[in-house]
């Protein structure tokens, strides 16, 4: 009997130690991850930062033994910020190239388009930049398109956070919008206006202007808004367009007007904008009135982990990491963690593993909310400052930290906070 028990014990032990090996052996020698983002035109830096973040993550993972022994191989494509191109890329990456996982995406429209086709492709997509709340609230939560996740903050950051910051500034009574004429711009403004009016019914909308994608001359829009003398303008055109717009606002003398108090540039804390704005911030052309946020700020939080990431990134690429870089980096690590937990590349198992996952990003823990696959974490807002001893570029200082719990909308009713 003892002999039988001993044999059974050895058999169970062998099963116990062999099982992981068997599951891990199901993994291919190379795990392919496919990314896409904008790498051409006036917003190209967002895609290039994604490539940098992905390269860093892949290098780190492969140097430390890969994912359960499998090496990671990455391919990145230019989405051209076009839904048709991004859809074609996604199909190519999965069907032809054999990607096991997709990441990236800069635009709200593309995010919605890809969320719709991911179940057909039977892969997971982690969005790292595209911001519309319709992805998490409608596509994922209501329609059940559960192959898609988002590791970056949604438009709550662009619309609700600034309202929370400026609701306590009584001198801001007249507000105006200069919106990117697509989902991101409209959603951000709607959230901002509704939230601010909820706390400050005395606030009046005095102007609304909008600019289509790839717009170059914002002077008519700026003049139209200036005629209404707003105290605050919330602006959503981003990247190169955002820079042109701010430059034209300086030319028009907007920041010198005594009635004008705040320009909130929703994603103005991105590195390409910081680099581009440096000469003007340095020479005081914004008079301290330029505020912004982003989907990650390299100078927050002031933790050893974040500092180490920024230092490593700068050493490798010679630049500060933008949010698109860190979000891609974090997305790849979230995928790695999911594969390690499930020891599988089965999409349904990976979805379950990612739902509710707490993943460590350089800026702290991000919780992937299981209901709508939205990563929850805090990013502050701040105003542009220049301090050579801190950074060669302008950066967001005087940071106002509002915990994400205070400004994220939540399932099931997704009410304003």
């Amino acid at each position: 009997m003892k002999k039988v028990t001993g044999i059974l014990g050895i058999a169970l032990f062998l099963i116990f130690i062999v099982t992981p090996a068997v599951n891990a052996a199901e993994l291919p020698k190379v795990i392919k991850i496919g990314g896409q983002g904008i790498t051409s035109g006036s917003k190209a830096d967002y895609g290039h930062q994604m490539i940098m973040g992905a390269q860093l993550a892949v290098e780190e993972i492969n140097n430390s033994g890969g994912i359960l022994g499998s090496k990671v191989q990455m391919k990145f494509m230019d989405s051209e910020l076009k839904a048709a191109v991004a859809t074609k890329n996604a199909r190519y990456l999965v069907k032809d190239w054999g990607a096991h996982f997709l990441f990236g995406i800069d635009s709200s429209g593309i995010s919605m388009a890809l969320a719709a086709i991911m179940p057909q492709l039977d892969r997971i997509l982690i969005i790292c930049h595209g911001a519309t709340h319709k992805v998490n609230e409608e596509a994922i939560y209501k329609k059940g398109l559960r192959n898609t996740f988002r590791i970056s903050v949604p438009t709550y950051q662009d619309g609700i956070l600034p309202a929370m910051i400026f609701k306590d500034r009584p001198e801001i009574k007249r507000i105006a919008s200069l919106a990117a004429a697509y989902s991101y711009g409209y959603d951000s403004w709607e959230m901002f206006e509704k939230t601010l009016k909820k706390y400050r019914p005395d606030v009046e909308v005095v102007g609304k202007a909008e600019a289509p994608f790839l717009h170059m001359d914002f002077t008519p829009q700026l003049n139209a808004l200036m005629a209404a003398k707003p105290n605050l303008i919330l602006a959503t055109p981003w990247g190169g367009e955002g820079l042109m717009m701010l430059r034209q606002a300086i030319l028009l003398g907007l920041f010198e007007q005594p009635w004008f108090k705040v320009w909130f540039q929703c994603m103005g804390g991105s590195i390409d904008m910081a680099e581009g704005l440096t000469p003007d911030v340095k020479s005081g052309k914004f008079h301290g009135k330029l505020w912004a946020t982003a989907r990650y700020l390299w100078n927050w939080p002031d933790t050893p982990r974040n500092k180490a990431f920024v230092a490593k990134f700068r050493e490798k690429f010679g630049r500060f990491p933008n949010y698109s870089a860190i979000n891609v980096h974090t997305a790849i690590y979230a995928f790695k963690k999911a594969v390690e937990q499930t020891k599988s590349l089965d999409t349904q198992k990976l979805i379950k593993a990612l739902e509710g996952m707490k993943v460590q990003a350089p800026d702290g823990e991000r919780w992937i909310r299981p209901e709508d696959h939205q990563a929850c974490y805090t990013v502050p807002g701040g105003n542009y400052v220049y301090d050579k001893s801190v950074c060669p570029n302008a950066f967001l200082g005087n940071l106002v930290v509002v915990p994400w719990e205070k400004y994220f909308r939540n399932p099931p009713d997704y009410k304003l906070p």
Binding site: S40, E210, L214, M216, D217, Q221, M226, R247, L251, L252
Partner: protein, 287 residues
Amino acid sequence: MGNFIFQALNGLSSAMFLWLVAAGLTVAFGICGILNVAHGSLYMMGAYFAFTSFQILGLNFWLSIVFALIGAGIIGFLMERFFLRRIYAQPIEFQLILTFAFILVFDNLTKMIWGTMLIIPTMPSLFQGTIPIVGRPFPIYNLFIIFAGLALGLIVWGILYKTWWGKKLRAAASEREMANAIGINIPTLFTAAFVFAALLAAIGGALSTPVRVCDSGVGGAVIIPAFVVTVIGGLGSLKGAFVGALIIGVISALCTLYIPFIELFILYLIMAVVLIIRPQGLFGGEV
């Protein structure tokens, strides 16, 4: 009323950029018969050359414009002499394919040479600041653009209508075989006309650098409104390009002030109405 005047002035400065691009487009089509969809790329190259000479080589603003003109002129010459000349007799589809290929070539060329990062030249000190117009600060540079656009319009008109060379160009445009028969060297003349069109695009690009960024996608962004302008004014008509640019620039600015959410709709509606009522454009057929 003050807002109206101020916004109309802004529309006028936007119109001048449109005019310079549309003028080149219409010269290339009206004289050489080339529908050059890569015309925006010549604008882009002008911007990059001006940036390089002003910001990198440290030349002054005026010299940087000259540098941009020389660079774009050489490119225009090479395009016409070695590529476009071979397809004059071919159907227009060949022109579209070839010139579209040029867009891709120039976009990638700029990425290889200048990288994909945004390039943001600084405003020359001469043009920094504003002057009050109807009680509001109007950028000096925008005012300069209005005068520069009008002056260039006069120069172009003078060249085409008051010089012997201009007369030859117009003769060749209206009756190529007859002009050839009376001894006008058509191939050389067409090369010169195409270079002239390239110079107009390049000067638009060079003048845009202090207020706009340089990037590899800017050519595509400028060509669409330029086509709208030429469709309204009449492809091949300089007068049409000028009037079309004024219509689009000023109406766009005023719509932004009064009815911002249908601004684009109004612009394309104007184009659609012109196409229905007068398919050849307001001044179509005039060179």
